[in-house]
Homo-oligomer: 416 residues x 2
C-alpha cells in the first residue's frame, strides 16, 4: 500500500468512529483545537516564518505572500472561527423527512456524514484549520493536501490538531495531511475511490478544472466565477453604479467578484461614463466591445474574445453593450460559469425573467454578486461555493458536508 | 463534431427551453406521449418482434427475453405509468428554503432542472419511456443509450416520443436516443462533460462499476445491491423467516433482494433449519460458512470467499453465523454495497445500534429489504436507487432529478 492508501485506511476507520460520535464530544474536540492553536501558536508561527522565508527567496509576489502569512491576530481569528463552528448546530442525525406508509412502515430520512473528505488547496494555511473544523463538525474525517509553499505551516498545525483530537478522545486520523506535495500525490488522491467519498478542490480555476477533468473520486467543483452585472434599460443607474463598483472593486481576487458588465444600449451612453467616474478611483482597466469603446474612448481598451471568458481576479472589467435582456441572458449562458449573476432593473417583468432564465448558483436582482458566501447567506460557515449542479449548488455549509440515509422501522412487513 | 456532440448540443438547447416550460405544457406533452404509445403501439410491437427474433436467434435466455418483450398489456401499463408521472407534483420551482437576511436581502432556494441527463441501460425497452417521462417532468432533456438487443424497439418508441413532444409544442430534442450502440458510444458519453450534466447507469453491476470508474461526467451510481438480513439473537424467529424468505425469494433478480443472511450463534441451530423449510420451496442454494454448514449439513454447500461479495440475482443465498451484533455490523461494512440492510430483533438497543451504525442507503428493523423502491417509499416514481452518498442516496424520484439555485431579491444592497 502507498502512504496515501494507508492514510485513507486510517481515515476510513476514524470516519466510522466519528459517524457515531455525539455532538458534545465533537464540540469538546473543536474547543480543544481552538485552545491548542492559541497555546501552541509559537510552533505554527515558526513554521510559517520558514515558509515565508523560502517563498520570498523564490520571489513570491506580495499578494501571495500575504495569503501565506500568519500572525498572532490571524491565528486568534482562526481559533475563534473554530469555536464558531463548534457553536453551529450539528447537521448529523437531523431528520430531513419522515413518512408513514400505508403498510405501517415508518421511514425517516436522516442526515449522515459523507465519510472521508479530500480537499486539495493552495497556499493558505488557514484553510487547513477551517476545513478540518467543518469536516469534524459534520463527522467526516478529512485528508488535506495544501500547497507546497505552505507545507511547513500545514505540517506544524496538523500536529497541533491531531494532538488536540487525541486529548479530546477522538482518533488522530480524523484529520490527515498529505506530506508529499508533488503533482503525483494530487493525481493519486483523484483516484483514491476506495478511501475518499468526495474530493473538493479549492483554489484557482486551473486547479479546479484539472481536478474535475481527471478525478475518478466524486468531485465538487468550487469557486469558478466569471460573474456578470447586467444593467437593464430600466435600471436605477445610480444604484447600478454602486452595485457594479462593489461587485468589481470590494475584493477583486475572490470568485464572486464581477468580471463583466453588460449594459443595455438605451442607457449605455449615460451609464458607462458614470461607472467610469467611480471605477477610475481603483484604476480599473475596462476591456470594451466596439460599441462601448465608442462611448468610453480612451478610458477603455478594446476587448478581445478572451476577455469574455476571463476571471481576472484583479481590477479589470470586460464591458459589453447589448440590445436587450434576451441578448444579455444569452451572453451570460455562453460565458458565465454558473456562479453569481446580477441584473439591475426597476422592471418587475425583466427581473422575474432574469431570475427564472439565468442558470447559476445565485441570481440577483438589485444587489451585488459579492454576497454569494456561506456567512452572508446565513449558513454560518463555508467549505466552498459549488458551481456544479449535483449534490450542492452555491455556498456549502455543514449540511452540504452530509449525505442522508433512510431508516425504516418495521413490524415484520414483507413486500407482496 | 461527432453525432453525439450534435445530439448534446440539441439537447442543451431543448433543456434551456424546458427550464422555462410550465407544468401544464409538460403534463400535456406527457399525456400526448401516453396517447401516442397506445395509438402507435403497432409500430413499437413490430420493432420489438424483430428484436426478439434476433435475440432468440443469438440464443438469449428466457429471463432476458422476458425483460426484452413487449405486449399490449405491457404497453398499456407503460402508458399508464407516463400518465402517473404527469399527475405527480412538478419539482421545478419548488422553494426549498427562504431566508431574510439582516441587510434586507431576501433569499430563496429554488429547485431547478439538472439540465441534460444521460442514461445508459440494458435491454429493457420500458426504461426508455420511463426515463424520458421522469426527465421531462423534471424539465430535463435526456440522452438515452439502451442495450443493443433492444435497439429496434428503442428506435421505434423514440420516434413516437419525439413526434408526441413536437405535437405538444415542445422540442423533439428533449429526448434523444444514441443510435450507435457500440462500446465506443458509451465511452464517448462518459466524457461528454460539455453536454451532459449527469450520467446515470442502470443495469448490472459490471456496467455500473465500469461507468463509475471511467466517466468524467458526474455519475450517479445505482442499484448495486449485496443486501443482508441479520437475524439477531433476540429476533422473533418466525418473523425472521418470513422476512428472509421475502427478501430473498419475492424477486431475486432485483437489487434490493437479499444475498446473504447473518445469524447470531445463539439462535443459529434453531433458525437455520426453520429458514430452510421455506427456502427449499424455491430450491434456494445455500452457500454456508463452516459453522452454518455444520448445522445445515447436506442442505447447503460450502461458501467460498467470493460468496460474501456476490450479487447472485438468483435463488442463491450466502449464510454466515456471527457471534453478535458487532460482528454482523463489521461484516456488513466489509461486504455490503451500501444499498439495503435489515436487522430482525426484538431488542430496542440492538435495533437502534444497527440503525445508527450501518452505513447504507436504507437500514431496516423488522422489515424486508425489498421495500427500497421509489414507489414503496412514497416518491411516486423512480429513476433508480442511488448507492452513492453525493447528491442523492436511496430511491431517486423527481426531486432527485433536480438541482437548486439561490434567487436573491435586493434593493440596492452592496457588501461592506
Amino acid at each position: 500500500m502507498t502512504i496515501l492508501e494507508l492514510q485513507g485506511l486510517a481515515a476510513r476507520s476514524a470516519a466510522r468512529k466519528l459517524a457515531v460520535t455525539g455532538e458534545m464530544l465533537k464540540n469538546a474536540a473543536l474547543n480543544a483545537i481552538a485552545d491548542a492553536l492559541l497555546v501552541r501558536r509559537g510552533e505554527w508561527l515558526e513554521a510559517n516564518a520558514a515558509d515565508l522565508a523560502a517563498a520570498r527567496a523564490e520571489g513570491m509576489g506580495a499578494a501571495l505572500l500575504d495569503r501565506l502569512a500568519l500572525d498572532e491576530k490571524r491565528i486568534a481569528a482562526i481559533a475563534e472561527g473554530v469555536r464558531q463552528v463548534a457553536a453551529l448546530p450539528d447537521p448529523v442525525g437531523q431528520v430531513v423527512k419522515t413518512t408513514l406508509r400505508p403498510n405501517g412502515l415508518k421511514l425517516e430520512q436522516r442526515r449522515v456524514p459523507l465519510g472521508v473528505v479530500g480537499i486539495i488547496y493552495e497556499a493558505r494555511p488557514n484553510v487547513t484549520v477551517d476545513a478540518a473544523a467543518l469536516c469534524l463538525k459534520a463527522s467526516n474525517a478529512c485528508i488535506l493536501r495544501g500547497g507546497k509553499e505552505a507545507f511547513r505551516s500545514n505540517k506544524a498545525v496538523i500536529t497541533i490538531l491531531r494532538d488536540a483530537l487525541e486529548s479530546a478522545g477522538l482518533p488522530r486520523d480524523c484529520v490527515a495531511l498529505v506530506e508529499d506535495v508533488s503533482r503525483e500525490s494530487a493525481v493519486e488522491m483523484m483516484d483514491l475511490t476506495e478511501y475518499l467519498d468526495v474530493l473538493i478542490p479549492r483554489g484557482g480555476a486551473g486547479l479546479i478544472r484539472s481536478v474535475a477533468a481527471k478525478a475518478h473520486v466524486p468531485v465538487i467543483r468550487t469557486g469558478e466565477g466569471v460573474c456578470h452585472v447586467y444593467v437593464h434599460g430600466e435600471a436605477d443607474l445610480d444604484m447600478a453604479v454602486r452595485i457594479l463598483y462593489n461587485a468589481k472593486c470590494s475584493r477583486p481576487s475572490v470568485c464572486n467578484a464581477a468580471e463583466c458588465v453588460l449594459v443595455d444600449r438605451v442607457v449605455a451612453e449615460r451609464f458607462l461614463p458614470m461607472a467610469w467616474e467611480v471605477l477610475k478611483t481603483k484604476s480599473v482597466v475596462l476591456h470594451a466591445d466596439p460599441e462601448a469603446l465608442d462611448i468610453l474612448g480612451e478610458r477603455a481598451v478594446p476587448a478581445t474574445v478572451q476577455d469574455w471568458d476571463s476571471e481576472y481576479g484583479d481590477y479589470q472589467l470586460a464591458v459589453k453593450v447589448v440590445a436587450d435582456l434576451e441578448e444579455a441572458m444569452a451572453f451570460i449562458a455562453a460565458h458565465g460559469t454558473g456562479h453569481s449573476e446580477a441584473i439591475v432593473t426597476e422592471s418587475y417583468t425583466a427581473a422575474q425573467r432574469f431570475l427564472d432564465g439565468v442558470d447559476a448558483a445565485a441570481v440577483y436582482v438589485n444587489a451585488s454578486t459579492r454576497f454569494t458566501d456561506g456567512f452572508e447567506f446565513g449558513l454560518g460557515a463555508e467549505i466552498g461555493i459549488s458551481t456544479q449542479k449535483l449534490h450542492a449548488r452555491g455556498p456549502m455549509g455543514l449540511e452540504e458536508l452530509t449525505s442522508t440515509k433512510y431508516v425504516i422501522y418495521g413490524a415484520g412487513q414483507i413486500r407482496e
